[in-house]
Symmetry: C2
Subunit: 116 residues, 2 copies
Amino acid sequence: MARAATTSDVFNAVAEPSRRALLDCLAHGELAVGALVDQTDLEQPSVSKHLRVLHAVGLVTSRRDGRQRFYRLEAQAMRPLHAWVRTFDRYFERQLERVKERAESTRREHPRKEPS
Amino acid sequence: MARAATTSDVFNAVAEPSRRALLDCLAHGELAVGALVDQTDLEQPSVSKHLRVLHAVGLVTSRRDGRQRFYRLEAQAMRPLHAWVRTFDRYFERQLERVKERAESTRREHPRKEPS
DNA sequence: TTTACATATTCCAATCTAGGCATATATTGA
DNA sequence: TCAATATATGCCTAGATTGGAATATGTAAA
């Protein structure tokens, strides 16, 4: 079996750095394809193809205005990714605590409250 | 050019559902390969191969104990992913606000504050 | 040493990819 | 209708993959 399609889910769609770059651009607001080409170092066909993938997983929607086509970020499509990553939030905290505790215990053995 | 290697970064590493499943298992604590095989519907060689990828990007570390090898989650390696996803937090909120505002404006017309 | 157990690696097949280039489609204006 | 602009699509190639089966490596016990 081969790798899953990039259009199979949001995880695969955002695995590509260029597509993340496009989403970063769109975070500031709706943009036409040409503007995205200008703001990245991608060729126009590449941008269109990446947008197609992003559209397939629902991360962007588009609207036509004359000959231009404007793309807009649809952040709610990022929800599964968001949710999964958040699952590990406690482990970030736990590690922070561990670091703090270790730093503490080198000086003396008393927990503190304030982080740096 | 082909797709980037799964070992190129955390984004590519977690794009694979099986690897996310493994990380989910390891979130409860250190586990040997055999336990991971039991807790998933993956064959042993697949588990080993996926763990190799996860190790390559720093998402797990391992420790040998007799003939077993225990793997442990290294959550801090998820930081780039975590940070990127958080970038879009405000858009989740903004969308919520938009929904609320729309509900408001259907009743009456009230001027908006400012975005962000 | 031999055997059994736990894990890792190799080879394979079938896909899916990203970029480059050419070209098709669509819309506007002369 | 014809030219110009904006975007999308098709074709190609090299490369990277996943799972499966077989096998190799490594450790422990008999």
